[in-house]
């Protein structure tokens, strides 16, 4: 069913049909009614390729996330909740969110280049931002609207939103120190993710501010940020001659592995080892003892990401007069029972 068939059926020109459907003012009210009625009857919906070709726009926004060989970072509910927020914001604009999965054996930079070159999407969300991320330079150079979930050292001024990892690390260390902990382990991503650097820097600064010497052996860089990652990181910390009494995790999923490893070692999480995490997923909400962690509304975050992206798109700038979005979102402490004073 093309616009031509619809126009023929109504005995009017395709131009008028198009104008009627797109809500232009220069079309008679009665004509518009007939067009809309016929479109409804035949279930006509404009062909996206034709429209895209003419307008140079696809009405699709890509959200790029990485996958690894077996599952994906995408796997935790972190992104799922963000998507929900994004879609809430998009619904009013008839924009489609398409999730672009970047396989681990594909370079994220190449992946972005191909997506952009094919004009598959009008704009992009990018996540898993690296310390130096060539995608950012590329998108700026090509003038493709995008927003980054995470800061980077790359590129000039562009929209981004990040979580307040400095604040989290600082507050967590201070809280643990106030409760009497002196040896505090930290598990950060072993990859080039920028948040790992940010987190570690803040951790060291907070230790120094509390007059505690930094022990490099207490900083475990874990390639995986999954349950397995938490498991093995705990392994490493338990193997030290002087074990830490507390652990700081860069997400919440790892806590599951941490608990498991502690149990296996005959230790009780909380009692024998304090644990603090970051809430990225409701999965671990039911851990026992309840995990003390830092929380944030991911739906709100997704919504704000969408607003920031739309504000950077010429076609939507007027409807989103919020300027350049560069925000650090504070996280709120949710006290559990996993971080009492050391025994």
């Amino acid at each position: 069913m093309s616009i031509r068939e619809l126009a023929n059926h109504l005995n009017i020109s395709i131009g008028t049909v198009s104008r009627a459907l797109n809500g232009r003012s220069d079309v008679n009210a009665e004509t518009r009614r007939r067009v809309l009625e016929a479109a409804e009857e035949f279930g006509y919906v404009p062909n996206q390729s034709g429209r895209s070709l003419r307008q140079g726009t696809t009405n699709a926004i890509g959200f790029m996330v990485e996958t690894n060989s077996e599952t994906s970072t995408h796997g935790d509910t972190f992104f799922s909740s963000i998507y929900v927020g994004v879609q809430k914001e998009f619904a009013a604009h008839h924009l489609d969110l398409v999730v672009l999965l970047c396989p681990s054996d594909d370079d994220p930079y190449d992946h972005v280049r191909r997506v952009v070159a094919r004009r598959f999407v009008d704009a992009l969300f990018i996540s898993a931002i690296q310390r130096h991320d060539p995608r950012i330079d590329f998108l700026i150079e090509r003038d493709i609207p995008f927003i980054a979930l995470g800061r980077s050292l790359s590129g000039g001024s562009h929209p981004w939103i990040d979580l307040d990892f400095e604040g989290v690390a600082t507050k967590a260390v201070n809280r643990l120190v106030a409760r009497g902990h002196r040896r505090i382990g930290l598990v950060t991503p072993g990859t080039e993710l920028n948040l790992g650097y940010v987190f570690a820097d803040a951790y060291r600064a907070a230790l120094a501010a509390n007059g505690i010497a930094y022990d490099p052996r207490l900083l475990v860089r874990s390639e995986q940020t999954s349950e397995e990652g938490g498991y093995h990181a705990t392994d490493a910390l338990l193997a030290l001659d002087t074990r830490p009494t507390a652990m700081l995790l860069v997400n919440e999923i790892m806590a599951i592995g941490v608990y498991r490893r502690l149990h296996e070692a005959g230790l009780t999480p909380g009692r024998d080892m304090a644990v603090i995490g970051l809430r990225q997923s409701p999965q671990a909400r039911f851990l026992s003892p309840a995990l003390t962690c830092f929380d944030i509304s991911l739906v709100d975050l997704g919504r704000r990401l969408a607003q920031g992206l739309l504000a950077s798109m010429p076609a939507y700038r007027d409807s989103h007069p919020i300027g350049l979005v560069q925000e650090i979102w504070p996280m709120e402490l949710v006290a559990g029972e996993s971080d009492p004073p050391p025994r």
Copy 2:
């Protein structure tokens, strides 16, 4: 950068450029070399809209999953792992997987209709199949290639893959009965998902085969199949005057909530209540005591789904001569410590 600019730069016609890039045989080897070289130099990639418009194909395959208001079923790693398998199969065919999120306030049927009408994708994966699923009838009528993850009573012959829920329910009941359990609770989805019916039927049949009367109060239909769902379903079962000694769950995520609720009631999972689940996510792998559950390779499943879909697409039928895929995948028991005999 369009094909015209590229052709002008090379002083040849756009038709020849197109033929060279698409590997046609009627183009001189030297000419082809020059074209490929120039394309590489300028980073030319064919515009997807133009190509789609001409060919009537988008090279994009949609995977439709549902979201709820806060997160998405998508949230557990179930789908993430499937995506990985799908992409492995797609990589060789230059097909893109786009994840289409269907918000809960949007009817899945309407959503499919819009996606199809816009010609946004060439084919579809659909999941969360309902007992009577209008999407299936619609896709068959419109002759849109698709494959369903799950069986349905709707529609005629079409490709699908489902997990062996009958086998799982039967084996689980038999195992529990063999260990001395007589009162076995079952938690199924409270929605119209077909798997809920299949599972419950097999559960009742297995009870009958073991000479155990079916007690409707032991069958809890839970709207949510999340941790919360498991939590509240456990609530309901614990409230019975004669509690069950074992619980059968339709997934693994719920087990987290079940454990939590049992702990709160002063009960120890495994010791005071046997629990068996289905592995859909590695998250619960670290539950303690280890959950006895049924497992399957989701990556393989995804790969097979992709093969089944490609086999139903005219353009790929020759490269995938496997006929109509209608398969029930058996699941393998992974024995844990959560289902000992009753005390």
